[in-house]
């Protein structure tokens, strides 16, 4: 039973992690690198534009591109390779962990007499996306490097509480049979947001808001797709492996 859970969760998670890595380098990594240039001060968006506007528009465009290229060319290729390899490694590791948790959930459902197929696996996957990414993002939007946020410990605590409350809340809504469980599920979904995420009293971000918004949207979009794939694959493996 343990073998069935671990094998299914790890295989599905590893495959989903590879998909996540491909999408990461297609949509997200360039925004992280750009955000870091604002974080380190290599690029300064507001003052730079004011100065540039005082000169000419074309000049501003050239400077931004030049600044970007400089950063990319200046970085050591070996470092880049190591950094990206570690990103692939940890992306597969995190999705393998998600996969294992997801399959532990399947097993719990089976324990209560509910079978999980590939189709239902997709629903589980999207619920996992809601619990692990979407709901926490409502209070703690995905951080572009160069964003500034509240105390890390407090944010991690709120993140964990939100994940647990959202996961249990969705499970109660999906599998509960009475109005009471539905009400309890709804309350759990709402609670983290009623409590509210730790926030700063002021905004300190140095990255352009357009960039941060694009980053957050892309992170959630990639997460949505990968979680859907993870759930489908994990459900398929789960339903086809004898108990």
């Amino acid at each position: 039973m343990i073998k069935r859970m671990l094998a299914g969760g790890i295989i599905a998670g590893f495959a989903a992690g590879l998909l996540a890595a491909v999408l990461h380098f297609a949509f997200v990594q360039n925004l992280i690198l750009l955000g870091e240039q604002y974080e380190t001060g290599a690029l300064v968006h507001f003052e730079h534009q004011v100065e540039a506007q005082a000169a000419t528009h074309d000049h501003a465009g050239d400077e931004a591109v030049a600044g970007h290229d400089h950063g990319a060319a200046g970085a050591d290729n070996t470092d880049d390779f190591q950094r990206n390899a570690l990103t692939v490694l940890f992306t597969t590791l995190i999705y393998a962990s998600y996969g294992i948790l997801l399959v532990a959930g399947f097993s719990l459902a089976e324990h209560f007499g509910r079978t999980v197929s590939a189709g239902e696996g997709v629903l589980w996957g999207l619920s996992g996306f809601a619990a692990f990414q979407l709901a926490p993002a409502m209070g703690l939007p995905p951080e572009l490097p160069g964003s500034v946020a509240a105390d890390l410990g407090a944010r991690q605590a709120w993140w964990l509480g939100t994940v647990l409350a959202t996961g249990v809340g969705l499970a109660l809504l999906g599998y509960g049979r009475t109005a009471l469980t539905a009400a309890l599920g709804g309350a759990l979904l709402a609670a983290p947001h009623a409590i509210g995420a730790p926030r700063l009293d002021q905004f300190y971000g140095i990255a352009p808001p357009e960039l941060a918004a694009e980053f957050a949207a892309r992170v959630l979009g990639v997460g949505f797709v990968v979680w859907g794939a993870l759930g489908w694959l994990a459900g398929r493996l789960w339903s086809r492996t004898p108990a």
Binding site: S97, Y98, L101, E143
Partner: protein
């Protein structure tokens, strides 16, 4: 043999039910334990990759943490 001892204590056949019930209970217990065990493995992976703040782990997992919406810095 069993029929002849049917009136003896513990030999009325109910002990078979008891054994089955104990086995079922043990199975339920071990299933729950297995689920908890596997969930703990997943949670450990999640903590190490997503939350642990040792400098090495943080730097190695940095881009993934940003790209998966973990609180990072």
């Amino acid at each position: 043999m069993r029929r002849r001892n049917a009136n003896a204590v513990g030999c009325d056949g109910r002990e078979m039910n008891m054994t089955a019930m104990t086995k079922a209970a043990a199975k339920t217990g071990s299933a729950t334990l297995s689920i908890v065990f596997v969930a703990l493995i997943g949670a450990t992976g999640l903590f190490l990759a997503g939350h642990a703040q040792s400098a090495t782990l943080h730097d190695a997992a940095h881009d993934m943490r940003h790209a998966t919406g973990f609180p990072c810095h």
